[in-house]
Symmetry: C2
Subunit: 129 residues, 2 copies
DNA sequence: GCTTGACCTCAACCAATGTTCAACTTCTAG
DNA sequence: CTAGAAGTTGAACATTGGTTGAGGTCAAGC
């Protein structure tokens, strides 16, 4: 053993620029920075203070966008994604998926409820919140 | 004919105060004023500049809230409600109901689409917007 | 050495949907 | 008639999810 081995983190995986992540995830650079500030993705910094993202960043952002579609706030998405690391096993991702499915079902359920109210023959202004 | 007859508008139906409307529709007074500013409800003014609403105001606001639940913006709701007057026939209200039903169905459809994507076995980060 | 492009931060702005506050005015009941 | 409850306005604030712009830095190529 000649050199110290860094077990915890290989900095070299942090290679993607903001531009790269924006392109590959399909959002604006400003959004990438916004998501980083809110903890959805993590970035290392170069000596010149520039962000460098790991290759999982675009994926995380894409998942975040799906999560937004089902109605999670950025804060909630941050919490969900904080459970996932680059070395997470697939079942961790599966739980994220489950969470999104549950959320989507709930939204659908509530909308369907409203829809049922609307079709109930009840007069519109008598539908309660 | 001794007195001029006002055929167009009987001001005397505008009797409800902001407080009345807020109570009967279940929203805050500030919201009632907000909705008035955005044209969801109309108010006459007393000589002292206070709002007086017609009895249909709470109903309009309740419908507006249902409309919000199905995803319409205040602007859109204003447009929808502008079709309805106190003397509208029931079928005008029915069309409002239809519009809300259509909107709710559309939202449900889109959510269901996302849900299907989530269940498709596809990896999360490969779901497109 | 200089220009160019990509990046940085921080602050301001946008839209939607209200709420809250201060400073007044009006209405109503006794 | 007068006190107190209730109404008025406009501006500022809050929250969510970003975008835009000014002013500054950094690295590379000519």
């Amino acid at each position: 053993m000649t050199a110290p081995v860094r077990v915890t983190k290989d900095e070299s995986v942090f290679t993607m620029t903001v531009r790269d992540v924006a392109d590959q995830s399909g959002v604006a650079e400003s959004a990438v920075r916004f998501y980083e500030r809110h903890g959805l993705v993590e970035a290392a910094r170069t000596r010149g203070n520039q962000r460098r993202f790991a290759p999982d960043a675009p994926c995380r952002i894409k998942v975040a966008r799906v999560a937004q579609r089902v109605g999670l706030t950025v804060r909630e998405i941050g919490a969900v994604l904080s459970e996932v690391t680059p070395d997470s096993t697939p079942d961790v991702w599966a739980r994220v998926g489950d969470r999104l499915v549950a959320e989507a079902r709930e939204r659908i359920r509530r909308l369907q409820e409203t829809l049922d109210d609307l079709g109930s023959g009840q007069r519109l202004c008598e539908i309660d919140d």
